[in-house]
């Protein structure tokens, strides 16, 4: 798989600073939004460097509030800030800023419908050797279940930056799932405007469709390239918004190809695969296979080996496509 075109000129400064890390791209985009709009504030739970907020602190120190290692308080503070007309971005480690503060997310953010953007870094199994206490493989299921919540899973640093800028147009709560300190190959253009709720087609194919998000978009493209060698055309949809789901793109894929394989670094229950299955079951039943984390906790190890062991690799996506096609 080759990196996408970088446009005509050199990569922008933010892209160099982000170094292909979606978590840093998020912080840089928040900083850019802060330069444009003095209502932007950041709430951090001892995650200033994880998220890359030092530039924001330089720009407007009073607008970056770190509440320490206290995610419940971080979420409540963010909601309180939002009620005063400010536009808070609350950041933390995905496993903690979701599960630890889930009641605050439900009540003060989702139920009270406050415009809080949650930036959740180190999602999936990116905190590999940290073990199951630090893996976030249920966050999409949790966040997707709350009314009012928009759920976005950027596929790379470029999309993380552009999606974060695009949250400016959303007036309700947003969950942005970000990567950790592991390589995130670029799969989207550096300068592509992000449309919330719109999937992008990264590969064309008429035989089968892979609907992927986040860290499994790059493997999905690799799988499509491998299938192409066997004469199989795999369409690849980057489903970077899980909620609201791009129903038209999924229904079209179900109509135009022989079936759908979903791919995500998340438990098989309740995430992207669940969302697609819920849609198809009701609107247009179609053959489906789901690639993701089975119903168990991952072992300790390097992220790429965990992904391979639990079935979240290009090889597994290609195999699922072949199985689906019989």
């Amino acid at each position: 798989m080759s990196a996408p075109e970088q446009g005509n000129g050199a990569a922008p400064a933010w892209a160099k600073a982000a170094a292909n890390q979606s978590r840093l791209a998020f912080g840089l985009a928040v900083t850019e939004l802060a330069r444009r709009d003095e209502r932007v504030v950041a709430v951090s739970a001892d995650t200033l460097d994880l998220i890359g907020l030092r530039g924001f602190i330089e720009h407007a120190p009073a607008h970056v509030i770190d509440v320490g290692i206290a995610e419940q308080n971080a979420m409540g503070v963010a909601a309180g800030l939002a009620t005063t007309g400010l536009r808070p971005f609350v950041c933390g480690y995905a496993p903690f800023i979701t599960a630890r503060s889930m009641e605050q997310v439900r009540n003060e953010v989702a139920y009270a419908d406050q415009r809080v953007v949650i930036g959740a870094a180190a999602s999936g199994v990116s905190l590999a050797v940290s073990g199951g206490t630090h893996h976030a493989l249920e966050d999409l299921a949790l966040m997707r279940s709350f009314p009012n919540m928009t759920v976005v899973v950027p596929a790379d640093a470029h999309e993380a930056y552009n999606a974060t800028l695009a949250t400016d147009e959303i007036e309700g709560p947003v969950y942005l799932r970000l990567g950790g300190r592991v390589p995130e190959p670029a799969v989207t253009p550096v300068d592509a405007p992000f449309s919330v709720g719109r999937a992008t087609r990264l590969a064309e194919g008429a035989d089968v469709t892979v609907v992927a998000c986040g860290a499994l978009v790059a493997p999905a493209l690799d799988a499509a390239a491998e299938l192409a060698k066997q004469g199989i055309g795999a369409r690849v949809l980057n489903m970077s918004t899980i909620k609201p789901l791009d129903e038209d793109a999924i229904l079209a894929a179900a109509e135009e190809t022989r079936g759908i394989v979903t791919a995500e670094e998340h438990h098989l229950t309740g995430g992207l695969g669940g969302a697609v299955a819920e849609l198809l079951a009701v609107r247009r039943p179609a053959p489906m296979r789901m690639v993701g984390m089975p119903d168990e906790f991952a072992c300790v190890g390097p992220t790429d080996r965990i992904r391979a062991r639990y079935g979240m690799s290009a090889k597994h996506i290609a195999a699922a496509c072949l199985e689906l096609m019989g």
Binding site: V41, A62, H63, I65, V67, G68, A70, Q72, N73, M75, G76, V77, A78, A79, G80, L81, A82, T83, T84, G85, L86, P88, E103, Q104, N107, E108, Y111, A112, D113
Partner: protein, 276 residues
Amino acid sequence: MSNREALLRALSAHALDIRRNTWRALRAAGAGHMGGSLSAADLLAALYFHYLRLRPAEPDWPERDRFVLSKGHANPALGAALAQAGFVDDGFLDTFYAYESLFGMHPDIKVPGVEMCTGALGHGLSVALGMALGSRVQGKDWRTVAMLGDGELQEGSNWEAAMAAAHLAPLRLTAIVDYNKVQQSGHVSEMLGLEPLADKWRAFGWRVSECDGHDMAEIVDALDALPVAPDRPSLLIAHTVKGKGASFAEDTHLWHNNAVSEEVYEKAMAELEGPA
């Protein structure tokens, strides 16, 4: 009559009305949290009719003081204060628990004058801290007050907020503890004691004062003396009695949240006669 006497008399009358209106709402619903509503009635009267700078006709007035009822189960008393202040129509009080009503067991941000959906305990102080930070970030001078229950201080999230507020000070932030000493299953001291409560807050970096939460003169003096000190957030411990004003319901967990029959309503209202 001096201005102060007139003020205290007016606030006491408001407090009496809050208690009456609390029972009125509970009667409409057939049930509700009387204990924690009645203990907070005098404090709410002093807040809504003396301390807080609010514009009931313009509930979203950007410069308004913010009030967060963290102990959201005292919503009947809050609803009474909001109705008496003119944020909502008087008839709002008769919709407590009604189908599709915005006046449920716990405050709803969609009600004019309500700043946050609360009632899941241990959440309000963090939200209030966010509001106080919002004031400072925007260079405003509104004040933020959170009312906390004593039982809810058993939730650890309060102490995250307390630690952060002291660290992030100076802020225009006050927390009031409605210290009625009783929670759902019994006396707080028997369930999970809080003492030494004032020392705990001092240790967390707050400046603490205390008052009798049913003595209007003491309440007014305590509120007028805020902040306790300008450098740190203020904590006002208001010593109260659960179920205050209904002799049968005072100082017992048995009247935390109960059914309210016509007989109970009449009995309660008979004890709430106005001044001669």
